[in-house]
């Protein structure tokens, strides 16, 4: 039997979510880059312009979902890269805890910023 080299549990939730968020991020990251560099130029971004974009509930929800998907995909990707490099035992548990906390902090801060931009708080 051929050895498996993936760091993911076969058929696991993390493996599946990494693929689902990937498919979502492909579309939204391309849209984000296109909108803020080619339609609106980043150098001309103003607080008022950002507030106007974030006032649209669809755009606001897309951006928050983009943040959650990006944070999960990135943090889970880093964790798996480290597992690939041979991380195991207690250091593996510590890294998982630190990365989870960092990911949650990122989502919390980003959501707070998004709410401020949308003038919801």
């Amino acid at each position: 039997m051929a050895e498996r080299y993936s760091s993911f549990t076969p058929g696991g939730t993390a493996w599946f979510l990494q693929r689902v968020t990937a498919a979502f991020l492909i579309v939204v990251l391309a849209f984000h880059f296109f909108l803020l560099h080619f339609v609106n130029h980043a150098a001309e971004v103003t607080f008022m312009g950002t507030q106007q974009r974030m006032d649209h509930i669809g755009y606001f929800l897309t951006m928050v979902l983009f943040l959650v998907a990006g944070a999960f995909h990135g943090v889970n990707g880093v964790y798996n890269a480290l597992v690939n490099q041979g991380l195991s035992g207690t250091p593996k548990k510590v890294v998982l805890a630190v990365l989870s906390l960092a990911g949650l902090a990122l989502v919390a801060q980003g959501t707070y910023v998004a709410l401020v931009m949308a003038e919801m708080i």
């Binding site: 990937a22 607080f47 960092a102």
Partner: protein, 143 residues
């Protein structure tokens, strides 16, 4: 019976001279992934200046009083090095997206025999899109 294949330890980057297309794709995907998640943390930190702006904080930008968010973003965008870093970010993001599509195809078992060619295609397309975006990214900034 499936055959056993000993690929050796590819995590040992010292073996880079023996690497084939698929291994380079794997390394580039990891490298670009690290860059992108690092950037996401930085990005949210910069955008957090919106909190200061919402509290009425202002700053000087090119002799004008502007809110903290507009001043932070336009101040950064006024720097040549930031524009260069943005071109680099685009290159990194485009490669990660294209190679990510390639990986989803591999997962689905589509085009497995062309996995090396699709890696080269990802590289060429990344280069082309990056070069084509340079005028947009460098517009209106001086050295």
């Amino acid at each position: 019976m499936s055959q056993s294949y000993n690929r050796g330890l590819i995590e040992d980057f010292g073996r880079w001279k023996e690497f084939s297309a698929g291994m380079w794709a794997w390394i580039f995907h990891k490298f670009t992934g690290w860059m992108l998640i690092g950037y996401l943390f930085t990005h949210i930190a910069v955008l957090s200046s919106a909190i200061a702006a919402a509290n009425g904080e202002t700053m000087m930008l090119a002799g004008e009083q502007v809110n903290a968010y507009t001043g932070t973003i336009q101040g950064l965008e006024g720097l040549f090095i930031v524009r260069i870093l943005e071109v680099g970010l685009l290159a990194v993001a485009v490669f990660h997206i294209l190679n990510g599509i390639r990986l989803l195809m591999v997962d689905l078992g589509i085009g497995l025999t062309a996995q090396d060619k699709s890696f080269y295609a990802s590289l060429v397309l990344t280069g082309a899109i990056t070069v084509a975006s340079v005028p947009t990214f460098l517009s209106g900034v001086g050295l």
